[in-house]
Symmetry: C2
Subunit: 216 residues, 2 copies
């Protein structure tokens, strides 16, 4: 049975890969599995039918027969557990890759989202301009730690894994800010991830929703 995921009918970034369905599309492409997409409007995301799938009214969701999941971490893990290519076979290496999935969404992403909130949700507030450097510094502190750990390695722990997929997508959001460029090894890490054929296929499929042009 082909799983169905949900994605924005009209993505705020005009299909440039920032929406979180990118992570799930990319995971499917890495493991070579087909998937169907159901597009949802902003209005429909807050209605009971979608909230039954995703209690926080977001995308993506994952449906496969009786199973319905939300949270990209959980969906990626579900795909990675069932198909080779996203988690190492060695038990310890697998546990460390799962660690990086959690680190991406619960340690690295929160200050990046706080920066997005400072710009998008509080950009017109009287404190916006003075507060921004404080928030940027919190992001910078995290990136410094991540950059130190990555060092000269291609990926966070051995071969590319679901942990790298998640981390690279979390970091991508920083590209327009210029902060990522302060850390050349992180910038190269994201570029390396974006150069993967699976990422390109996922990106093209998401962009095609916006442009209306078929892929492939």
């Amino acid at each position: 049975m082909t799983p169905t995921i949900t994605a924005f009918e009209a993505s705020p970034d005009r299909g440039q890969g920032l929406a979180r369905d990118t992570r799930v599309r990319w995971a499917f492409e890495e493991v070579g599995q087909p998937y169907d997409v159901r597009l949802v409007s902003f209005k429909a995301m807050k209605e009971p039918a979608h909230l039954a799938l995703h209690p926080f009214g977001q995308i993506p969701t994952y449906e496969e027969g009786d199973l319905a999941l939300f949270e990209t971490g959980s969906i990626l893990f579900h795909i990675a557990e069932r198909h080779a290519g996203l988690l190492p076979e060695d038990a310890n290496a697998r546990a460390r890759a799962i660690t990086w999935m959690f680190a991406a969404v619960s340690t690295v992403e929160p200050p990046i989202l706080e920066l997005a909130n400072a710009r998008l949700l509080e950009g017109d507030r009287p404190w916006a301009k003075k507060r921004l450097p404080v928030v940027v510094d919190r992001v910078r502190d995290r990136l410094k730690q991540l950059s130190t750990r990555l060092g000269e390695a291609d990926w966070l722990d051995g071969a590319f894994s679901a942990g790298d997929l998640m981390m690279a997508h979390v970091l991508q959001r920083l590209k327009p800010s210029g902060i990522l460029n302060e850390f050349p090894n992180l910038s190269a890490y994201v570029a390396r991830a974006e150069a993967r054929p699976a990422y390109k296929r996922a990106f093209d499929a998401q962009l095609a929703v916006f442009t209306g042009k078929p892929t492939g």
Copy 2:
């Protein structure tokens, strides 16, 4: 081999259960497994030996032979995969419990941490007072969605799971703010979690680090 975790030598909350080692202690207690604790000072947390275990310089970490993990989500999952009691046996129910683990740390906790930052890190900034209600509203929006999903149920999806353990601990931080009390079912959910014997044992063990009194 008994795993070793790290915890604060001097917890900022004076051992009242807010530090993240609580989650791991609680998980060990739920599955009935022994663990050792190594205490670390704030200074030592930023030194190379600890950064080798935890690149972001935090606690807890988990060591078991050659394996070293960080991130409470990853550590909880590692414990839950190896010992019965924290994840359902049914594959779909297990995937949903994992979903709630990710939801707790990547969707519910970030606005709660943003509120903590607003109070602790930015409390003396000129914008602090005016901005606080904006941040509180973001927390409230999330709790409203979570409260709606929980409804009258005891736990988020069937029996108590690692997802509930994580969510209850994430919500606990809100108790002093009064926001949790605006949602009686969430408040009761946290109280239900805290009433579990395993939680009480974890809490007592953590408090004993601060008081210097042995437990049990």
